[in-house]
């Protein structure tokens, strides 16, 4: 392996990239847009259920509470009249999703066993869970007023939390989008590398290089270095600009490096298979879309399906989230990174093999 030759090819490739001023400007512009989008996203999560209440003279009623839960979970807003309550619910004022209209003499009627009617106003687009449970919520309130204890010994919800209790400190959209933005930057550079390779193949400049002392291995190594370097540097820059580099920087850098190698492998594959721009887009998208699944999955709460966990990029997404949100140490994410590393080896090997064979047939 002649490093002088590898260096010359790398220098040449970087020069070709930089010569396309438009590419340079638009890449920078894209980074700016992603960063701007990130900072526009909410940095906190509203996990409070807001209920409006019209209950004259019963302001402390809901302090009884149907369950002993986290304080962040419920907020009660009082209204002076049923009409005001109804308007507020319909308009969704202050995020109020439902309103309880407790009739005059509600407490007395319950204690007398008269089964008073409680009207609950609910927005039409209220989530299904609220539609199903608001009735039970109100009934529990009535039971509490009637001093009818539940038939089970219900623990306090703050005492039975499994894992880190994130009440009041949930993953915000910013937190969830962070890995996605990093992955988008990596993904875009896949196209650039694939285009570079396809141009070298279609223009037959690779043939000109390979009839010099430059070997195929040196040519391939240069492509890997260029692809990885461009993807890595942009991803690091992005994470730096969105304030993600602080705790666990080395772990993050390792994750990004592995991600860069992974997408470089994809770029090698796509560049080899595509004869022209359209082919490159087709093949690159074919490989990239499945790899995007874990990053998009991270946008939504809930555990990812088992097959999503098995995707090559899942470990990357999980690592970025764990490190940037929880400050997870390296040992906590080493397993995930290990899986990513294995995928890197496989994808990179596949890309190198396919490109090598393609070059040999030119």
């Amino acid at each position: 392996m002649n490093l002088r030759i590898v260096g010359a090819i790398i220098k040449k490739d970087l020069r070709l990239f930089s010569r396309d001023l438009f590419y340079v400007l638009m890449t920078a512009f894209g980074l700016v847009v992603y960063v701007a989008m990130f900072w526009v996203l909410p940095s906190s999560v509203d996990e409070t259920l807001r209920l409006g209440v019209h209950a004259e003279g019963m302001g402390d009623l809901l302090d009884l509470g149907p369950v002993d839960g986290p304080k962040e979970g419920l907020a009660v807003v009082a209204f002076d009249s049923q009409a005001a309550l109804r308007d507020a619910v319909e308009a969704g004022t202050d995020g109020i999703a439902a309103g309880l209209d407790l009739p005059q003499g509600f407490i007395e009627d319950i204690r007398a066993g008269d089964q008073p009617k409680i009207t609950v106003f609910l927005r039409g687009d209220a989530p299904a869970e609220l539609r199903d449970t608001i009735g039970g919520f109100v009934r529990e309130l009535a039971y509490a007023v009637a001093s009818v204890a539940p038939p089970v010994d219900m623990p306090s919800l703050t005492d039975v939390v499994v894992g880190i209790d994130r009440a009041g400190d949930q993953l915000s959209l910013q937190d969830r989008f962070r890995p996605l933005f990093a992955f988008l930057v990596l993904m875009i550079e896949t196209f650039a590398l694939a285009g570079l390779i396809a141009t070298e193949i279609s223009g037959r400049t690779v043939v000109a290089v390979l009839v010099t002392p430059a070997t195929t291995a040196e040519f391939l190594l240069a492509k890997v270095v260029v692809g990885t370097g461009l993807a890595f540097s942009q991803a690091v820059l992005l994470l730096g600009l969105i304030g993600a580099l602080g705790t666990g920087t080395l772990t993050l850098l390792l994750a990004l490096l592995l991600g860069s190698l992974l997408v470089t492998g994809v770029g090698l594959l796509a560049g080899s298979t595509g004869r022209d721009f359209l082919g490159i887009v087709f093949w690159t998208m074919l490989f990239i879309i499945p790899l995007t699944v874990p990053a998009i999955a991270g946008l939504f709460p809930g555990a990812a399906a088992a097959w999503v966990v098995a995707m090559p990029t899942y470990g990357l997404v999980a690592t970025i989230t764990a490190v940037t949100v929880d400050g997870a140490p390296f040992r906590a994410v080493a397993g995930d990174l290990g899986v990513v590393a294995i995928w890197c080896v496989l994808v990179l090997a596949a890309g190198l093999l396919v490109l090598r064979r393609k070059v040999a047939t030119l």
């Binding site: 396309d20 590419y23 638009m26 890449t27 512009f29 996990e47 409070t48 369950v67 962040e72 979970g73 419920l74 509600f106 319950i110 089964q115 008073p116 009617k117 409680i118 609950v120 106003f121 609910l122 927005r123 687009d125 989530p127 869970e129 199903d132 449970t133 039970g136 009934r139 529990e140 009535a142 039971y143 009818v148 204890a149 539940p150 038939p151 089970v152 010994d153 219900m154 939390v161 894992g163 880190i164 009440a167 009041g168 949930q170 993953l171 196209f191 285009g195 141009t199 022209d276 721009f277 082919g279 490159i280 887009v281 087709f282 093949w283 999955a297 939504f300 709460p301 809930g302 555990a303």
Partner: protein, 371 residues
């Protein structure tokens, strides 16, 4: 412009279609995206509170819980499995129903309800799940509620996330077929030099652009309609919907023609798309997150065909409710015709300039080459 020539060019491109990755991609993409959204992401889009139950004694509570629409109930074989699910945030909360739970509740023994809460569950979800559980337990115990609850629904029902994804799916399908088919097709012809070969025949640049544009419109309309069909159908006004898709396809194709005429190579084209596509695509985010300010998408031209499609296909709207946006979309398409005309002229100049010796001085080849 010659319709005969345009038809000839279009037929040539359509014949090449099956050999072109772009055409294949334009046809496959809607299916791929729809499968991903509906089948693959189904569970991930479900934001309902999730209750896990480890029913060790065949309690009636389990069956009752499963009847609730607002809770995503999952059954786990034992306490260990349930605890693992809670720890993994696979469920928001879990309850362990020991053998004889129902009997203990009915007999007034007040057994301890083993209730687990996932640390990452939203505070509001914890309360809702707990309340729902208590309500179910009181049902098992046969307790009569001390009050009657009447729920009055105000306003219209909201849309599922699947429905809110439709604009995203449609615009992706339409832009791949519309923008990329037209733009990439043009750039490809320029890179291969075939554009010049065409322009030295009776074919004019506008003939070329119209043919490429038609190809884009055809692909975009087809893929847009297929996407809609795969995602819920055409609503009550299919004719109007087809018109909206057609207008969207035309707009995207015009954008593609402008891009393709300007970009000198594939790299430039793709870079422009990478950087600029967000201005065309960003309205979809406002359908996904309806809480965001809804005036912003109006700043993008694509809003004016996306909104009619959304209203007609998803919200069941009528033609009367969308005519204004559609009229604006048509006006935008009309306004883009002039730039496309200018693009034809630019394309012609660009192609012929590429054929003349690039040096301003007389061609070096005519001068003796020094030994």
């Amino acid at each position: 412009m010659s319709p005969t020539i345009v038809r000839t060019l279009l037929v040539k491109d359509l014949r090449l279609g099956p050999r072109s990755p772009l055409v294949l991609w334009s046809l496959i993409l809607p299916l791929v995206l729809t499968v991903m959204v509906r089948g693959v992401f189904g569970s991930l889009f479900d934001t309902q509170p999730r209750l896990g139950i480890a029913d060790l004694g065949s309690s009636t509570l389990t069956a009752q819980a499963q009847l609730l629409d607002g809770l995503d109930v999952s059954l786990h074989r034992d306490e260990t499995a349930l605890r693992a699910a809670v720890a993994d945030n696979a469920v928001d909360a879990g309850i362990i129903l020991s053998p004889g739970f129902d009997d203990a509740v009915r007999s007034g023994e007040r057994p301890t309800l083993e209730f687990l809460v996932a640390g990452e569950s939203l505070a509001s979800n914890r309360i809702l799940v707990a309340v729902a559980t208590l309500d179910l337990v009181r049902g098992v115990a046969g307790q009569e509620p001390p009050a009657v609850v009447e729920v009055v629904t105000l306003g219209e029902a909201g849309l599922s996330i699947d429905a809110r994804m439709v604009p995203l799916l449609v615009i992706m399908a339409v832009s791949i077929g519309g923008v990329m088919a037209a733009a990439a097709g043009l750039v490809q012809e320029k890179e291969r030099g075939t554009i010049t070969a065409l322009l030295v025949t009776p074919v004019s640049a506008i003939d070329v652009l119209v043919a490429k544009g038609l190809l884009g419109v055809i692909l975009a309309t087809l893929t847009g309609l297929v996407t809609l069909a795969l995602n819920g159908g055409f609503g009550g006004s299919p004719v109007m919907l087809v018109l909206a898709v057609l207008v969207g396809a035309l707009m995207m194709a015009e954008v593609g023609l402008l891009l393709g005429s300007w970009a000198r190579n594939q790299n430039t084209l793709f870079t422009a798309w990478k950087g600029g596509a967000i201005f065309l695509l960003f309205p979809v985010f406002f359908y996904l997150w309806p809480g965001l300010p809804q005036w912003i998408p109006g700043l993008s031209p694509t809003y004016y065909f996306l909104q009619p499609i959304f209203e007609l296909a998803v919200e069941g709207g009528t033609a009367g409710g969308v005519w204004l946006e559609l009229a604006v979309a048509i006006a935008i398409c009309a306004a883009l015709l002039l730039p496309v005309r200018l693009a034809a002229r630019y394309l012609e100049q660009q192609s012929f300039r590429a054929q003349r010796p690039p040096s301003a001085v007389a061609d070096d080849d005519l001068h003796p080459t020094p030994a």
